[in-house]
Symmetry: D2
């Protein structure tokens, strides 16, 4: 892929990226299939396809995968599918994703105070 001249994350609004998915769905009249229930399943299914890339390797090797352009791109495609369905879910739930994420991060800051959780995984 040649993505050199494409807008990057700091040149792209969340709305623009969401729009790509919305247009795609609208052009195919797929919104009737996109109930929140079906979309929740779809997100989980794409998440499972992303896991496939890491199923039999250990955590260390999975980190090294970021330096292998081909495998990184393959995993990136699955990640894009998860994100695409998340955008569709935000649409189906009539949610502004930026506000939803900001709100949740605020709650996370209260739930996981930095001084208490530094260096300790969240499940402790």
């Amino acid at each position: 892929m040649d993505t050199q001249n494409e807008p990057t994350d700091d040149q792209t609004t969340v709305a623009e990226l969401r729009g790509l998915v919305e247009d795609f769905v609208a052009e195919r009249d797929w919104s009737c299939y996109h109930s929140p229930k079906n979309l929740a399943m779809s997100i989980a299914m794409e998440a499972a396809e992303l896991m496939e890339h890491f199923q039999w390797i250990d955590t260390e090797e999975s980190s090294a995968l970021a330096d292998d352009p081909e495998r990184r791109e393959a995993a990136g495609e699955e990640l894009a599918d998860v994100v695409g369905y998340c955008f569709a879910m935000a649409g189906a739930l009539k949610l502004d994703l930026s506000q939803t994420v900001r709100d949740k991060m605020r709650k996370n800051h209260l739930k996981y105070p930095a001084e208490k959780y530094r260096g300790r995984p969240s499940y402790d």
Copy 2:
């Protein structure tokens, strides 16, 4: 939550939203836990928590949930968790998410021509 004065999706770049998650993780020194393998599991786990909101209702009722502010916000929190881990995964894989999504959507356009797939779910 009072999100009325917060930047919306058309006022927020993908990089800004990713930055919220990156700062949160950095402040807690959690990057050592965030191997792609662990993050893929985390995305799938949060996707499952999102599914919980739709487990026993049918597709129609799940669509109506968008008009119930309380349940919509509860589902939105889980959606935010999925998206947050997707951002962490993009970071771990050193991927620009906008370019990754654009690239995948281009492939989807080739794979699912609108005239052929209009009104038919993608699995046909």
Copy 3:
């Protein structure tokens, strides 16, 4: 498939069924890949493949699928994959599955008293 003369669920012990999977794994020296972490991912991935069969249909149509031999068999194959990895997990955790299931069902009886939960889904 011709399964007419094969032992059925009331003619097969859990140990016999587990043995089929254990032998298969042993013959391929795959036990080194079968850490509980990897198996947990594998169970989730196969569960997602099972969901694929029900992704875009509503609950009612999914029930009707039981009367369509071909689709039922296709879904059954994915179910077998989930169960197979569950057996492998029981082995990796050195668990007797019958005792584990009996024990959990006892807890479920305490957690969900029949008179209180009759006709109401478990999440209420």
Copy 4:
């Protein structure tokens, strides 16, 4: 838990174990919720809860967990939930699980010849 005197995997038929779950569901009139679509989601959700026990540890540490009675029992409970919903799915699809697993294992033997796949994970 005291499971010393309980029937073990070689003393329990698959039908007996399935019966425990079927009785539990029947006593609560929950079969109306147990469409294959809902059960597929439920299996995936319980699989995610099982993953939680292994989210932040590496594969090696996850193997060691089998020797920690408390954590092993906790993971076992989630495994029992996955298996319980698999039994419910077999019921909803009117499938004999033993025949379904035997049939799939036969296909796996053809798909993954031992001499070719020995010591190599299945995805190669």
